[in-house]
Symmetry: C2
Amino acid sequence: MSQLRRNIVTGEWVIIAQERKGRPYHFGKQKHEEKCPFCPGSEEMTPGETLRISDGEDWILRVVPNKFPAVCIENESVDDRDLFYSLCEGTGRHEIVIETPLHDKTLHHLGKEQIFKVFTAYRERFVQLSKLQDIQYVQIFKNCGKNGGASLPHSHSQIVALPFIPPRLRQEMEGAKRYYDQKGQCVFCEMIRAEVNSQDRLIYQNGHFIVAAAFAPQFAYEAVFLPTLHQQDFGQVEDRVLYALADAFENTMQMMEKILGEFPYNLVLHTVPYGMEEDAYHWHLELMPRVSYHAGFEMATGTFLNSVSPEEAAKRIRGF
Amino acid sequence: MSQLRRNIVTGEWVIIAQERKGRPYHFGKQKHEEKCPFCPGSEEMTPGETLRISDGEDWILRVVPNKFPAVCIENESVDDRDLFYSLCEGTGRHEIVIETPLHDKTLHHLGKEQIFKVFTAYRERFVQLSKLQDIQYVQIFKNCGKNGGASLPHSHSQIVALPFIPPRLRQEMEGAKRYYDQKGQCVFCEMIRAEVNSQDRLIYQNGHFIVAAAFAPQFAYEAVFLPTLHQQDFGQVEDRVLYALADAFENTMQMMEKILGEFPYNLVLHTVPYGMEEDAYHWHLELMPRVSYHAGFEMATGTFLNSVSPEEAAKRIRGF
């Protein structure tokens, strides 16, 4: 059972998902000490697939329901005797994208074709999960490495279909709307122009994407993947754009690995909810390397402290 | 030089403090490999004291300016050619409370008298720093342990005097005001009543404080220290209340250590800015053990995922 609880002072919601305590944790364990549930031959360890991509013979990508979900399909009814606080059921879906049958390869070393397939799987499940009843938003993200919050090293992403629009997305959509109402322009399109003009924070560029170090980063080396084509809805994105994203991701990550080594990170996708008309918004991905920490200052103030400027980060990543 | 930069989409500010890269990092190093700047005999390694408490002969607590500040007293003027984005100077003060001359003792093992002295040092510097020109808020917090974001193991706290009211505090003050306007009661006073009534999340209680597991925690085992006396301004708090806080802190931390072992944490103090009349608010401390991680889901959505319910956390900490 999972529960949504509201902070009575700030209005923020948190999810209490006690089932997740049972999930396996394989970092720091000997290889093969425990069987990896995402490897070929372990298919019976996961619930039934919601998507499978194969090379004709074997699978090369699987999407499966998470056995230890943050939100559940069904919930017991909530005990609301405690009337001072607010809580409700946390219903939704939680899926895992097993990005490769290979246990030891990270996403950016799988080759452009496979990375592209991962992104098409995101799009396919984004669209399908968005159509379910009571689902307001489908959040796609990836945790890589122990400090990135991953519990298993085998390369995977996560998709959580939620019964609400997350506050972070709402905040971004409102900000973009405000900018659009004031200036008559998409703030992300303007950002692309500013980054290409100044070059100071630019990391990589191809026909459909720019990658730039974030101007106001929450984490050291934080970067944003911005599609140059103005589109709000990830569900509508064409294959050629996803292919360019695969190229941008592969190149950026390999450049970053050269200076940071194998680094933990979170990758998050922001889009309008599937089918929503909100022309002021512009879908994108945010990459947050977890080589710096959020600590007391961030928790206390809600303001982030960063000791690497994005201009210096971009310079180091580019190598000039 | 430190800089405040605004996220053009969300409006959030971040602080870029490049000097902080130079700060010493002693976790994982051999003992005595590098001299601890907070130990007796290293006094010349820190800038001059802003507060010293001694036992008549030697110091037992020092407050010194941080050599690697998040915000600086003076800044170069900011280059604002880049007009698309917003930035400004990050002026303020950043001090360190060296809580004890003992290198190896954590705060909750120093004894009630010394813990009380640390809290009186907080109050003293809160008041003095608040009186400086251009200072809007003085944030007190403590990072303990490597995963708590500390860079030195010698027990210390931090005090940052800021040229703005932090968004997190603003959010709490607005929430408290909204509740007060609707119900005519302080939301924190009501919370104390609800927690004492239900007992489900109650961890510790004395004449002036209750400690409860947070109803909607961002982190597993998160707890809140609530003074039972309704006061908004930490600068006005009396010694007897601070002594009761020392008692509550010592007992709660030792109870938590029994089940979590030596655990990393952040402790943050929330109060109205010194001298502000805001009767709807109620000062308090929040304790965030860092035994769970924020990862892609939290970054992407702004909603927190927690696999330990506060009721279970309180039960485990209480031991019944």
